[in-house]
């Protein structure tokens, strides 16, 4: 079976274009190993912040019918613990280790600078910085702060879809020096229980991921692809091999999954990849270059 190797940058080629997105099982070395052994071609850590964050009280998530809503409150032990997690991951995964993308989150560019220095010291293959708000000026400041402190490690900026000028945002990220863009983060939402007359999540609001996010993600990825010449890490509602093909055709170079681990568990990786290979073969595509951004090609 062809795995469809995926060249993200000159210095990084993944075995397949299917990876683990940030936040789902990314807070434990053993779970990252499980994702790697289940077929993820790269694993992304949970978002790490400068300091420990306890996170939100239960309830933190549910499946509302067309997707998920979650708000864990960015629970993480703080960037200093990432060192132990990553070394334990490498040790436990042994031969089966796949590249690690380190996802980080801060509220300001200054905080991002310090956080990036600490993260770069751990030598991940990519630093994925989560943009706190989809604002062009902030994007520009954050991208510069992260890239200047990344010690040459490629940087991807992860964006939210609730932005009206995606192309401007993309240009700010490119001009700031990023090597890639990750799109998309989940979109803010709220679930109310009418009988309780209260929001369901303890924090009131949360983020919508899973199937409901897919068309939104495809649209953003398409705009990014047309606006800038940077590799796009596509994320949002991918549940099947066809979803993956659609996201690549919109312009993504590789595809991350998160919520699929709720719908199916870790076997999602091999199933999605098998379905994707079957699609590629039946349609006669030989490699990823033949489909990435295909819906935009003129001819």
């Amino acid at each position: 079976m062809n795995n469809y190797p995926c060249k993200l940058f000159d210095q990084l080629t993944l075995n397949t274009p299917l990876i683990l997105a940030s936040g789902v099982s990314g807070n434990s070395d053993s779970l990252l190993v499980r994702a790697a052994r289940s077929g993820a071609a790269a694993v992304t850590t949970k978002g790490f912040t400068l300091k420990y964050r306890k996170g939100a009280d239960n309830p933190v998530s549910t499946d509302w019918g067309c997707g998920l809503i979650t708000n864990l409150g960015l629970t993480n032990p703080g960037v200093d613990s990432m060192k132990y997690m990553l070394s334990a991951y490498v040790e436990k995964a042994g031969d089966e280790a796949v590249p690690v993308f380190a996802n980080i989150y801060a509220d300001t560019a200054e905080e991002f600078a310090e956080l990036t220095r600490k993260t770069a010291a751990l030598n991940p293959v990519l630093i994925e910085a989560d943009l706190p708000a989809p604002d062009e000026n902030l994007a520009s400041e954050v991208t510069r702060a992260v890239c200047e402190n990344a010690a040459g490690i490629p940087v991807s900026i992860k964006i939210s879809p609730d932005c009206c000028r995606i192309s401007r945002l993309a240009e700010a990220i490119r001009d700031g020096g990023a090597s890639a863009i990750t799109a998309v983060n989940p979109i803010p939402g709220m679930l109310i229980d009418a009988y309780a007359a209260k929001p369901f999540l303890s924090n009131g609001t949360g983020w919508i991921s899973g199937p409901a996010l897919k068309p939104i993600a495809l649209n953003v990825i398409g705009e990014l692809y047309q606006a800038v010449d940077l590799p796009i890490i596509g994320v949002g509602g991918v549940m099947s091999g066809l979803d993956m093909a659609e996201m690549l055709m919109a312009g993504a170079r590789c595809v991350g999954v998160g919520s699929a681990l709720y719908y199916e568990g870790y076997s999602a990786f091999s199933r999605i990849m098998n379905e994707f290979s079957a699609f590629m073969e039946s349609e006669g595509y030989r490699d990823l270059d033949e489909i990435v951004g295909k819906i935009w090609w003129k001819s």
């Binding site: 434990s28 053993s30 779970l31 499946d63 681990l261 568990g265």
Partner: protein, 263 residues
């Protein structure tokens, strides 16, 4: 007329408390008005709006029963509920126990007895011979003994201080019962309780080469396999299934469990 059905996913359903049964000074059972179809060993997430949402075993299905020990903030609120009060429930969740063989040995420690009542009824209805072993620190902490006594099964009680049944751990009468089994290949131990008890039972079953299904506990947050909070490492005696690589060291109680089957 065609019927419109909206996909509600896993949204909480409302249950109304019908009766409150005091099991001991720290444990009560809520008996609801409505049923909840599920397999023995599965769990639910019970939400009290504005207070919290926590996992509990399903102790009865028709009507739904949950047996809850007062150990902290939310369980204390639950103990204040009265007939007519409403609770919100998501579930059933997780993998339950599977009927196996012809001889069943059910072991419960503390409130770990609660899922075993439903399991005992289920196994008996399938013609399986059931023995139940309940252990607690003292007599007042044993629960559901009257309920188990109503069923056609052999009940063994142990307490650490000897205030009821045998003095010692449940593993003592359990080992004796295992030695008397007519055919160990046709037997299965089902257990629910604290981690130390489960590890002891696992070692005992390994010694006598008996199948077992142990129900593990961990602090749950999402309850849907996303946050990783409930992950545990399983004992070395557990054979990792070929289609779940990496699961032995990162087993999700909410998704892969709560019950673990070792044959």
């Amino acid at each position: 007329m065609s019927e419109f059905r909206k996909n509600e996913g896993m949204r909480s359903q409302i249950f109304t408390v019908d009766q409150v049964r005091i099991e001991n000074e720290m444990t009560t059972s809520l008996i609801m008005r409505e049923p909840l179809q599920s397999e023995p060993g599965q769990f639910l997430l019970l939400w009290l709006p504005g207070i919290g949402e926590k996992p509990f075993s399903i102790a009865g299905i028709d009507p739904l029963v949950v047996t809850i020990a007062d150990v902290g903030k939310m369980t204390h609120e639950i103990h204040g509920l009265k007939p007519g009060d409403r609770v919100w429930v998501r579930g059933p969740l997780g993998r339950g126990y599977q009927a196996y063989g012809s001889e069943a040995l059910l072991v419960g420690g503390g409130y770990g007895a609660s899922p075993l009542l439903l399991l005992a009824e289920n196994l008996i209805s399938k013609g399986i011979n059931v023995q139940v072993f309940l252990g607690a620190r003292n007599k007042d902490l044993l629960i559901l003994t009257d309920q188990f006594k109503k069923l056609p099964l052999k009940l063994h009680l142990t307490t650490n201080d000897g205030s009821a049944g045998l003095q010692g751990f449940v593993t003592v009468p359990l080992e004796a019962a295992i030695q008397e089994l007519p055919d160990r290949n046709q037997a299965c131990v089902y257990a629910c309780g604290p981690k130390g008890m489960l590890l002891g039972i696992d070692a005992l079953c390994e010694k006598y080469r008996i199948a077992r299904q142990l129900s593990w506990e961990a602090v749950m947050r999402c309850g849907m396999g996303l946050c990783g909070n409930c992950r545990i490492e399983l004992p070395d005696t557990w054979q990792e299934p070929a289609d779940q690589p990496g699961s032995r060291r990162a087993w999700l109680v909410c998704r892969d469990g709560p019950t673990m089957f070792t044959q």
